[in-house]
Symmetry: C2
DNA sequence: ATTACTATGTTTCGAGTAA
DNA sequence: TTTACTCGAAACATAGTAA
């Protein structure tokens, strides 16, 4: 099954429609023609491929959904084989969130942990950075391969507050930490940063200012 | 199945024994405890993992064989997501092969194709380069994602001669081509280079000399 | 040539449970 | 608690074909 997708990747189906047929795919994947046919149908039903079928074969292309799945695999494998501890740099533009980040960061349940584990008392607000290039989004995904500072969730009488992972970094040279909140399915192109400083003031940032986040490797 | 290996990778089983149990792995992979147990046995029988089992769980580590399989996947996926056309550089040390490379390169059936497709008449010999670092071996594997100059195989009365792929490059600045012979399961840490020049003389190389191969991107 | 349906055979799964 | 066996059920693969 997955096998079939890898065969399609080898043919370049991640960037264009590629011409093939069920007999060819079957032999490449070590399965029968009938199975290849059925699996192509399944992949199509699961919106993992698009097809144009005619009586001489078919053209197949991977969907964005399939690429996302492959990207997950890639992200898991990269830290295994890219041993060198490279410096991760992320560039993006400052934008205004809803201001709710500051509320959470200031809560005693979190604040105590920040002071203890990150070694600084965070300014009660987060700097929202929007990533503009695929390269930066990739770099953000790589962050998770770094050693994290774990912030535990907790509960009060009203509700439960989720955990988070922090990664020491600098923003335009100023000490800070990237905050990756657990469970909330955050957009992939946004990074939240906390710091002991009010970064907008300290770095004279406005909405649209470009900042460079440099992750600390150990 | 594969799923289980990815779970183990996430736990770091590619670099050390990691402690886990069948219930935990099952829930991570969306399968029953029984299936996880059975699959671990299969993985062990297939020499993809090593285990130390006790009554409180088990320690699991991936074998080299499993890592090789994952590396294949990684190599397939990298060109998909590493879009930027990076320059591939390989460094290694010159060594003497058996001299058979020269015999083949000089055969009319190949020579004609080199002249036509690579645009030069190759010196009848190959420069063997031994790669010394993991980084260089990785870089060599990446070559295959570049556009290849295809050299077809052929037959004469006696036998069949296999095909090859060539990749335009420079060796210490001199035009050349990396030769990847088909089918022969070449060692991963050796690169063969052909050129119109006798590179050993032209570049004053001896066994053990370090050379830098720069692949041409288009 | 193709793709892909049906029917049948094979493999895989997981509940129950032993050790 | 574990791991992992047995066995009936569910999922999957392929031969034979139709279109």
């Amino acid at each position: 099954m997955e096998n079939l997708i890898y065969s399609l990747v080898k043919k370049g189906a991640h960037e264009k429609f590629v011409r093939t047929n069920t007999v060819e795919l079957a032999s490449e994947c070590g399965m029968s023609q009938q199975t290849a046919s059925r699996k192509l149908i399944e992949l199509e039903n699961n919106k993992l491929i698009e097809r144009k079928i005619d009586r001489h074969g078919q053209s197949v292309r991977l969907t964005q959904k399939a690429l996302e799945g492959l990207r997950d695999v890639y992200r898991n494998l990269r830290p295994v084989f890219e041993t060198a501890a490279k410096k991760i740099t992320i560039e993006g533009k400052v934008f205004s969130g809803l201001g709710e980040g500051g509320y959470y960061v200031g809560m005693p349940g979190y604040k105590k942990q920040f002071i203890q584990k990150l070694g600084f008392d965070p300014y009660p607000g987060t700097l929202n950075v929007k990533l503009e290039t695929e390269r930066d989004i990739e770099a953000k995904a790589q962050i998770e391969s770094l050693p994290a500072v774990r912030i535990e969730g907790f509960s009060d009488a009203k509700r439960t507050y989720g955990g988070a992972n922090c990664y020491n970094a600098t923003v335009n040279g100023v000490d800070a930490a990237v905050l990756v909140i657990e469970r909330t399915h955050h957009p992939a192109d946004v990074v939240e940063v906390i710091s002991s400083h009010f970064l907008r003031k300290r770095l004279r940032l406005n909405d649209g200012s470009t900042v460079r986040i440099l992750l600390k490797n150990e």
